[in-house]
């Protein structure tokens, strides 16, 4: 459960102060799939970063599962991110010196959730889930854009986060790969039961969500259920198998 109250984010640009986020408040119940939309410069990525604890608001509060994250120190926040948050980015952000398997294992190793074979098994399972079992020993440079994003997806889910944050996950992909990644995202989301917050300006992507939050000039100008309600129906119909 995510609770955002009176969130403000101001940045200083030379002599001027610019309010990126202006007094935003909203709640996201557990397991909900939310799309955050808006034009460029509306504050979508900033909002995502604040929820992820990657930055600190100028004022306001953010609670994740009842824990106020704006008061946490950086290392405490890092631990929280490791345990509760997963990330998928437009630029994948794979570590180029690690293989696909090692990239997926990274959060497990950092958080000492499980060592040695346990981590390998979990990572291998997720790579198989995204269809890359045969590429586990390849480096990012040896993978296509779509494959890299799938590895990033697997890594995002490896810790079974309660919240997954995705910032334009298909932005660098062609439409075919983009669709494939989105399907995986939604399937894994249902399997793992996470809350999914997706930032996008892609209408097609947003249509898969249960709810849309529209931002403009740092303010919420709309907070509606998805017009097609497709996201909810798809999740009900999926009947996806659990972890093998």
């Amino acid at each position: 459960m995510i609770v955002v109250r009176n969130l403000v984010k101001t940045i200083r640009n030379g002599a001027h102060a610019v309010e990126i986020i202006r007094n935003i408040s909203f709640d996201v119940p557990s397991r909900q799939f939310v799309a955050v939309m808006g034009p460029s410069g509306s504050g979508k990525s900033t909002l995502l970063g604040l929820i992820a604890g990657l930055d600190w608001p100028s004022s306001g509060s953010i609670l994740i599962d009842g824990q106020e994250i704006t008061k946490l120190r950086e290392d405490e926040m890092a631990e929280l991110r490791g345990k509760k948050l997963g990330f998928v980015f437009q630029s994948y952000h794979l570590i180029p010196t690690l293989t696909a398997l090692e990239n997926v294992m990274l959060p497990l190793e950092f958080n000492r959730v499980t060592g040695g074979n346990g981590a390998v098994q979990r990572a291998a399972y997720l790579l198989e889930s995204v269809g890359l079992a045969d590429r586990r020993d390849h480096y990012p440079a040896q993978l296509s854009g779509g494959e890299q994003q799938r590895v990033a997806l697997a890594r995002a889910f490896v810790m079974k986060p309660s919240v997954l944050l995705a910032d334009e996950p298909t932005g660098n992909l062609d439409s075919e790969n983009g669709r494939h990644v989105l399907e995986l995202l939604i399937r894994l989301n249902k399997e793992e039961g996470t809350t999914l917050i997706l930032v996008t300006h892609d209408e097609m992507l947003a249509s898969q969500a249960e709810r849309r939050i529209l931002l403009r000039d740092g303010q919420i100008v709309g907070d509606l259920p998805s017009p097609s309600g497709r996201g909810r129906r798809d999740s009900q119909q999926a009947g996806v198998p659990g972890e093998g």
């Binding site: 101001t10 990657l54 290392d75 991110r81 060592g115």
Partner: protein, 846 residues
């Protein structure tokens, strides 16, 4: 610890070539340190293993006089108990073929049937048995006299046939520093030469061979009871304390020099880790996103730095173990010992530990910066650091972290210097100079780069694309110009400092003697020869000036105011007075250039025995006017009251003695005379020849020969030092290569773009030359200037004399460093200029 090592290994394996130069520079530092300390280990092993051979005995007693009858009696009693003994007498004399000037030689007479008790004297031909009429000589005497085996030479009162050349003497090192080539006599032969007279300066060694079940300590105690302070008693287990002390001092000094090579490597590590971590920032930011705490991530890169350190140090210690051999060759003339080279495990471990510590220290500043990487870096938009999280470091805290890192580096370097140099005092001075130099170099580097940037706006540089781009490469982000400048300058500074120090020391020795100072010294003149020598000196036209011959008696100070010397608490520097044989002389008049500090000079006919004490001896022994001193000499005791304490600046025989007695005090003693004369340097050989022809047992020492010997020793020492400091210079060049390799991709990309806009290969090459020539010559000039400052400080402290700066060495350093830097830059840039622009541009696009 497993995960950080695992991550570090993953990071390193992906780009091993990136760190290869840094590994090499660490290896160079470890090689230098291992070679120096490993050599020490090998020498100690040799001394231990060959201890008996090096001493040629189980126990050695060293005395400046012949043993007394009582002492000889005691040795005979020991012989009846089965403890064998033999005598070895060493002194200096003159040798001549009869044609040409005589040569100063070191003479040894021994009972060759018994000596050495352990080891063997090797001569060539090997089957030669010396007798009273034959000698064996060293190769350098054959060279200097232009003679060969089978010929005859004159030494003392007679001629001897050269029966063999000396190949090896087992106890050569025990003899210590010798003047001139060596001549080996039988005892009979030496006694017939007439050069060993009562009172002359000799070194007598009494060598003892114990039975297997004899108690070493008990025997030494017995000997001490008989010989007292007249002899210095050592046994083979003490592995020649004098030698090991000299060895330790040399090792300490050279270890600190080799530490500089490690520090240069550290600079390279610091620069490489900085640019490495800069490239890794997005990764670090992401790791923080997925739960990586700052300390986790720091431990990964500490592990990576230590992997680099391990790789470099392991290669270095292996090379260093073999480099010992080269080092041994360099110092062989000085040590003259066949060192048994061993695997120096202790030295190798020490080098590994010092390398790892240095690498860790210099990686600290880059590692500290990890804490400041914000995970928000991962987002598309730049996020201002204005909003601070609770506990988020502000600018002053960031500065504080940097200061702490710098302080840790300084303290760490000092600690490593203390450990490597085994002396807090020397290490502190060394660390202060080094850290001060690094700070100055850092500041100068910053000023230089700033100045270069400003200078590049000048028309003369702007007009030339070659100069403009070449110089601009120095201050681009990630250029590491400051680190390269520091590492090259340090090596130049050390090498030039040694050169300046050596020259100043030699100059000081030369210049301390004013033009009217004596340059020939005559020693071992008997009473019988005194008048003849005096007449010769008065009548010889080549003699410009001479003083009256000074009488002398060798004596050992025994009591002060009735108290035995060994019961008087003496400071470290004064303890040598316990065993020194002083040359006591007498004088009617006060010597020239003398100031009386306390008391007064005696009248023409003093009524009691008085003594004038040199300032140094007075301070060391706590003497005052009125103190009663007693000495033990051959023939009796000498007692005198202190009449005055003086300071004498004259460099004349007899004037500078620690103790000068009043007339009549030495009347009942066997006197040996010595004198000093001044001749034109070109006439020195002729005077030596004339003196030798008439008085062959008188030794004439040419100050120029002594200077030559000193110069030879200093050359040897400075050669060894330059060998070690060469590693630092090499390390600096490797750091340069590392920086070029690190920026290879940027250089390739720039080359492609420049070629696209019309730059030729020649222009690109000249840009490279401009870049490297500027940094190389700057390093040479700055290193030379720092060397001048460091030398001035050291010379002022050691010699208490003003330092005279010399331009040519600095100029030469600038030119040669620039050339070496350009050459290294070319080699490291191999392949960069040859890539096709289109290939590169496509890669950039994709």
């Amino acid at each position: 610890m497993t995960f950080p090592l695992l991550m570090a290994w993953r990071e390193t394996r992906a780009a091993p070539g990136k760190f290869i130069f840094v590994v090499i520079s660490v290896a160079l530092g470890a090689t230098a340190l291992t070679a120096v300390t490993g050599f020490n280990e090998s020498v100690r092993y040799t001394l231990l293993r060959e201890a008996r051979s090096l001493m040629a005995a189980d126990i050695s007693l060293r005395m400046p006089v012949e043993p007394s009858a009582k002492e000889i009696d005691f040795l005979d009693r020991l012989k009846s108990r089965g403890i064998d003994s033999t005598r070895v007498t060493e002194t200096v004399s003159m040798a001549s073929t009869g044609q040409g000037p005589p040569v100063l030689v070191s003479v040894k007479g021994a009972d060759l049937g018994r000596y050495p008790f352990y080891g063997r004297i090797l001569v060539q031909p090997s089957n030669v048995q010396l007798d009273a009429g034959t000698v064996a000589v060293s190769d350098d005497l054959l060279l200097r006299l232009g003679t060969r085996v089978g010929d005859s030479i004159e030494i003392g009162n007679r001629r001897f046939r050269i029966a063999a050349r000396i190949v090896k003497e087992p106890d050569r090192m025990t003899t210590g520093f010798t003047l001139g080539p060596r001549v080996l006599f039988t005892r009979e032969g030496l006694s017939t030469a007439g050069i060993v007279i009562p009172g002359s300066r000799i070194t007598e060694r009494l060598l003892l061979k114990l039975r297997p079940d004899d108690d070493l300590e008990a025997t030494k105690k017995e000997l001490s009871g008989i010989f007292g302070r007249r002899a210095r008693i050592t046994d083979y287990t003490e592995t020649n304390p004098q030698l090991t002390r000299a060895l330790d001092r040399a090792t300490r000094f050279l270890s600190l020099i080799s530490l500089i090579a490690l520090i240069v490597a550290g600079l390279g590590v610091g620069a490489t880790m900085q640019s490495h971590l800069r490239q890794k920032m997005p990764n670090i930011a992401f790791m923080k996103c997925v739960g990586g705490r700052s300390d986790h991530i720091v431990s990964i890169y500490i592990a990576q730095a230590l992997i680099i350190g391990c790789a470099g140090s392991l290669i270095g210690i292996l090379l260093g173990a073999f480099a010992q051999a080269e080092f041994s060759r360099l110092v062989s003339r000085y040590f003259d010992i066949a060192v048994i080279l061993v695997w120096p495990w202790t030295a190798m471990l020490k080098a590994v530990a010092a390398s790892l510590a240095t690498v860790f220290l210099f990686a600290l500043p880059a590692l500290v910066a990890i804490a400041e990487v914000k995970p928000a870096l991962i987002l598309r938009k730049e996020v201002s650091g204005e909003t601070m999280a609770p506990g988020q470091p502000r600018q002053p805290q960031r500065a504080r972290r940097s200061v702490v890192a710098a302080a840790l580096i300084a303290i760490g370097l000092w600690g490593i210097a203390v450990w490597v140099g085994s002396s807090i005092k020397y290490a502190t001075v060394f660390a202060a100079i080094l850290i001060g130099s690094l700070l100055v170099l850092g500041a100068l580097g910053g000023i230089l780069l700033h100045s270069i940037r400003r200078l590049s706006r000048f028309r003369i540089i702007r007009r030339s694309a070659v100069l403009r781009h070449g110089i601009a490469n120095l201050y681009r982000p990630g250029a590491h110009a400051a680190a390269i400048l520091a590492s090259l300058s340090i090596g130049v500074m050390v090498t030039l400092s040694i050169y300046f120090l050596q020259n100043s020391l030699l100059e000081e020795v030369r210049l301390t003697a004013p033009p009217d100072t004596p340059n020939l010294f005559l020693i071992n003149i008997t009473d019988r020869e005194r008048d003849g020598i005096t007449r010769l000196l008065e009548n010889d036209p080549a003699v410009i000036e001479h003083q009256a011959l000074s009488p002398s008696v060798a004596a050992q100070l025994s009591t002060i105011d009735g108290r035995p010397l060994e019961q008087i608490p003496l400071e470290e520097g004064a303890r040598r007075f316990l065993n020194t044989q002083f040359v006591l002389t007498w004088a009617r008049d006060m010597p020239p250039a003398t100031d009386i500090l306390e008391g007064s000079w005696w009248p023409a006919q003093p009524t009691e025995s008085l003594v004038s004490v040199q300032e140094f001896a007075a301070q060391a022994l706590g003497l005052k006017v009125g103190s009663i001193l007693e000495w033990t000499a051959i023939g009796g005791y000498i007692r005198a009251r202190v009449a005055n304490i003086r300071r004498t600046n004259a460099l004349r025989a007899g004037a500078n003695n620690q103790f000068i007695l009043s007339p009549g005090t030495l009347d009942n003693f066997l006197l040996v005379y010595y004198g000093s004369i001044r001749v034109k340097p070109e006439n020195a050989a002729a005077i030596q020849t004339r003196v030798f022809q008439q008085f062959p047992t008188v030794t004439v020492i040419n100050a120029a020969d002594i200077l030559e010997i000193i110069q030879g020793v200093m050359d040897q020492v400075s050669l060894a030092t330059r060998f070690v400091s060469g590693f630092a210079i090499l390390g600096g060049l490797v750091v340069l290569a590392s920086s070029i390799a690190g920026s290879r991709y940027r250089r390739i990309r720039e080359t492609a773009i420049l070629k696209t806009v019309g730059a030729t290969r020649g222009m690109l090459l000249r840009m490279l030359c401009a870049e490297f020539a500027v940094i190389g010559s700057a390093a040479g000039i700055i290193g030379g200037a720092l060397a001048a400052v460091a030398s001035a400080v050291l010379i002022g402290q050691i010699l208490d004399t003003p330092y005279k700066f010399s331009w040519p060495p600095v100029f030469f350093a600038a030119i040669s460093t620039a050339m070496l830097t350009v050459l290294t830059g070319w080699v490291a840039s191999y392949g960069i200029l040859d890539r096709k622009p289109l290939d590169i541009l496509r890669q950039i696009e994709s």
